[in-house]
């Protein structure tokens, strides 16, 4: 368990915001805002790391809200600042700052930091652990002082650091190791957007640079089953992967009562260059036999050119008839090269050594072209509409991983149809029913469904007095032939929701039940050649209820959620609920107490089960 690094970042962000606020001219301005903080205690039984893998909550302090708003005398916002989450109890930190500097200039800065934790005792990920942080800065400087064009400069930086525990494969075994993350992304974007032309135009040019300098190290030396005499004694890398991705995006859109059209195009040319070496060293039989060291001393490069675009058109033909046309195109072409050598250094205990090397000179490619076109004819009557249409598409995929690889080349054409009907009655009842069908005959991947049929149904009704009810259903079937994967996919989903809102908006209640039944059978071929079936069976029921109301000076807010998967694959059930009661102590000041509960239970194992109760107090103040 780690101690969250919160104090420094929180102080920096908050103090910077306040400094900027105070630097603004004071005349004829007014402040408003709110602040709230909470402290949470936590008691739990079961696997705490499993709980953290799902929510990453802990005990401690949280900034629930910090909002500052500064307005001009004429009502214009000059300064806004919002923050929440800083503290040990929450995995997230968020802050955003907005400044109106006058003469059309504005600045917006957003800061997000999230701590990710992952550590399960059971299942396929028991050898994997994550404890890392990702920090994102996002800034925008906009100039809106010209009536014709808005200009925005965007700057982004993303940093990921921390540790990943994972296994490394070597000598036919899996050995635990650690990866110290050092990843960054920097991006600058210039965006021009027209404001007064009949056709709305945008042009965006961005340049992004990604860099990964992750370092490996062994974690213990013995294989994960602790049943092999060979030890991993050294594991390391000087790898440095760098990508530069310039991207140009242009859009044009026009809308009137008769026609709406939107066109867009993207061009991107991404380059990757890698340097550095990676190595593993094993002590054979624990050392008495000697050592073997594997070194990958290679450099690689890859480039991907992407051209994508599309046009959407909606035309009102008159008398309620409309036609919608959509077309999309994407072409990505990649080439790659790997050059260097793989070395094996074998040494016995008395010092004799043998070096073997294999040169690497490999080239690969990956090309992908996708097109899709859809036309829909629609009639909109008074309180109802109906639509029907067809779609055609194509997909070309061609790749060769290595120089000697014969490669894959797949061209396929697809067709589909859609028809639907919607109804809106005067008494607030509305509904829609849509059917979609798609098919093709060539496969890129064996699990592609050759035919898909989907029916979607939605019904909504305003019952009056703030009550509303909605229901939905979706039925989907997909399959492909026995000669491919004998895929048989069925998915049935449905649900009903009931909500109520008081006229004044100070009280509301809602309950929602959703069910999802999903079964997928896929024919697989076992390593020995025998046929078998991979079946995934999910039978999920999710019940959610929430409500809030005010009783005198007490504000009550609560929610409860029940999830149960009774499918055959891996049945689980979970509860979580929260209740919060706040009382006004004085004008603009509220104290609250809250309790939260989680439980998680896997039917076939208790390794990752948990029960957690959190309770705390919060104080908030607004002005």
């Amino acid at each position: 368990m780690t101690t969250r690094e919160t104090g420094g970042a929180a102080r920096t962000v908050v103090l910077a915001a306040l400094a900027v606020a105070c630097a603004l001219p004071l005349a004829a301005q007014e402040w408003s805002g709110s602040a709230g903080a909470a402290y949470t205690w936590q008691s739990m039984s079961g696997n705490e790391e499993s709980f953290r893998s799902q929510s990453n909550l802990q005990e401690g302090f949280t900034l629930e809200d910090l909002t500052l708003l500064r307005k001009d005398a004429d009502g214009k916002d000059r300064f806004t600042f919002q923050a929440w989450g800083f503290g040990n109890a929450e995995p997230s930190q968020h802050a955003k700052l907005g400044l109106e500097l006058g003469s059309g200039w504005s600045v917006a800065v957003r800061y997000d930091r999230r701590e990710s934790f992952f550590g399960l005792a059971g299942g396929d990920f028991s050898a994997r652990g994550d404890d890392w942080q990702i920090t994102r800065w996002n800034g925008k400087i906009a100039w809106d002082g010209w009536s014709a064009v808005r200009v925005t400069l965007g700057l982004r930086r993303v940093e990921r650091g921390g540790d990943v525990q994972r296994t490394f494969y070597g000598l036919g075994e899996q050995y635990p190791g650690r990866v110290a993350l050092d990843e960054t992304m920097d991006e600058a974007t210039l965006r021009l957007e027209t404001k007064t032309l009949p056709v709305h135009l945008t042009l965006e040019q961005s340049v992004a640079s990604y860099e990964r300098r992750n370092l490996w190290s062994p974690d213990g030396g013995t294989n994960i089953d602790a049943n092999d005499a060979d030890l991993l004694t050294d594991l390391g890398t000087t790898y440095r992967d760098k990508q530069d991705v310039p991207t140009t995006v242009a859009t044009a859109s026009y809308a009137s009562a008769a026609i709406a059209v939107s066109a867009r195009v993207l061009w991107s040319s991404a380059d990757l260059d890698t340097t550095g070496a990676g190595w593993q060293e094993f002590a054979i039989g624990g050392g008495p036999v000697g050592t073997v060291r594997f070194v990958d001393d290679v450099v690689s490069s890859a480039s991907t050119d992407t051209l994508a675009g599309g046009v959407d058109l909606a035309v009102a033909l008159g008398r309620g008839w409309r036609v919608n046309l959509r077309t999309a195109y994407r072409d990505a072409s990649s080439d790659s090269a790997l050059l260097g050598q793989r070395l094996i250094h074998v040494a016995n205990p008395i010092g004799a050594a043998l070096d073997l090397s294999a040169p690497i000179d490999n080239n690969g490619r990956f090309d992908f072209t996708n097109t899709s076109n859809e036309a829909t004819l629609e009639y909109r009557g008074s309180g109802w509409s109906a639509w029907a249409g067809g779609l055609v598409g194509s997909r070309k995929v061609s790749w060769r991983r290595t120089t000697d690889d014969p490669g894959e080349d797949v061209n396929r054409d697809s067709t589909g149809a859609v028809a639907g009907f919607s109804l809106r009655l005067a008494d607030g009842v509305s509904g829609s029913l849509e059917y979609r069908h798609g098919t093709f005959e060539e496969y890129v991947f064996r699990t592609d469904p050759e035919t898909v049929d989907r029916v979607t149904l939605r019904v909504r009704s305003q019952l009056g007095h703030g009550w509303a009810v909605s229901a939905h259903g979706r039925f989907e079937r997909g399959d492909n032939p026995a000669s491919i994967a004998s895929l048989d996919h069925s998915s049935d989903a449905g649900g009903i929701g009931l909500t109520w809102s008081a006229a004044g908006g100070d009280a509301s209640f809602g309950v929602d039940v959703s069910v999802l039944s999903l079964t997928t059978d896929t024919g697989i071929v076992l390593p020995g050649g025998g046929a078998d079936l991979s079946r995934y069976d999910l039978s999920l029921t999710t019940l959610t209820a929430f409500g809030e109301t005010t009783l005198g000076k007490v504000r009550l807010r609560g929610s409860v959620s029940r999830v149960e998967d009774s499918g055959n694959t891996w049945p689980v059930s979970s509860w979580n609920g929260a209740l919060r009661a706040g009382i006004s102590l004085a004008q603009h000041t509220e104290m609250a107490a809250y309790v939260q509960h989680w439980s998680y239970n896997e039917d076939r194992s208790n390794l990752d089960d948990f029960k957690v109760t959190r309770y705390g107090v919060a104080l908030s103040w607004s002005f």
Binding site: R128, A270, A308, G364, S422, S470, Y600
Partner: protein
């Protein structure tokens, strides 16, 4: 002479239309917000102090003065004879589009299901008579607002592994989706292969020397449920081997699938999103 006749017809038609419209326009003199505030004082004050009023003030004071009539239509008759019958109490989306013209067409193009089901601007957005306390003046926070119709997606955020900022704070739908067709939705389509996901998950950005083809073709959602899942890592299968074997049916004989460690494919094939050094994706 042939050109003179059509010109005269056009000029004549315009003159007649102008004569017909002139008295109507004169009768509908603009009614400023201040006039409306004489009766609707609380509503007007709340509107001016709220986000819609502040946004209008930012454009121009004149625009704010025209605010009431912009949405509720000509109000001169209502001023003379205050009655709910002679004022448009429930403006349609056309009123919103009179200012937000660039937003009106986007719905038809990118989410045609909304206009087909007669989803109006005010079904999702507050009018601005008071501050709803949400971004873009949404009536509710996006997860509740969108979840009112898209219940299955809303339910997915309740699952054990989901995109959440905090335990009771799922990601806002608008983090990834833009119903008006600009911004993220457009980028999602253009970038393809998980381009939107990579804007946050920057560590998975390509290009790769050895890409994993499903990710390149269909993107992250080939293996992951973006909203939520009962499976760790928001995977579409509980057992990693099930997910992998459905495509990789021709596993070589040295993979003894009776062993749990072999069924955890990612233990060895760690660079599952793509590798720059190993065609078998054993190493990043």
């Amino acid at each position: 002479m042939r050109r003179t006749l059509p010109t005269l017809l056009i000029v004549g038609t315009l003159a007649v239309v102008g004569l017909v419209l002139t008295p109507v326009l004169a009768a509908d003199e603009p009614v400023p917000l201040e006039t409306c505030a004489q009766c609707h004082d609380e509503v007007a004050a709340a509107f001016v102090a709220g986000p819609h009023g502040r946004a209008m003030a930012k454009v121009s004071p004149e625009l704010l003065q025209r605010a009431c009539e912009t949405c509720h239509g000509p109000a001169a008759k209502h001023v003379d004879d205050p009655s709910p019958e002679n004022i448009n109490r429930h403006p349609s989306s056309d009123a919103c589009a009179s200012c937000h013209a660039d937003r009106a067409g986007g719905m038809e193009l990118t989410t045609p299901g909304h206009p087909r089901n007669d989803v109006q601007c005010l079904d999702c957005h507050a009018s601005g008579h008071k501050d709803p306390g949400t971004e873009h003046m949404l009536r509710l926070r996006p997860r509740k607002l969108c979840g009112g119709c898209h219940q299955q997606e809303a339910a997915a955020f309740q699952l054990p592994y989901a995109h959440r900022e905090s335990a009771h704070k799922p990601f806002a739908c608008t983090t990834c989706h833009d119903v008006h067709g600009e911004g993220e939705r457009g980028r999602l389509e253009l970038l393809g292969n998980g381009g939107l996901c990579i804007s946050c998950h920057t560590g998975k950005a390509g290009p790769f020397v050895f890409p994993h083809p499903p990710r390149e073709v269909d993107g992250c959602i080939t293996c992951h449920d973006p909203h939520g899942s009962v499976n760790p890592r928001q995977l579409k299968r509980h057992e990693v081997a099930d997910l992998c074997l459905e495509c990789h049916a021709d596993v070589s004989a040295n993979h003894n699938l009776s062993q749990a460690r072999v069924r955890a494919c990612q233990n060895c094939h760690a660079a599952i999103h793509g590798s720059n050094r190993d065609p078998r994706l054993l190493s990043e």
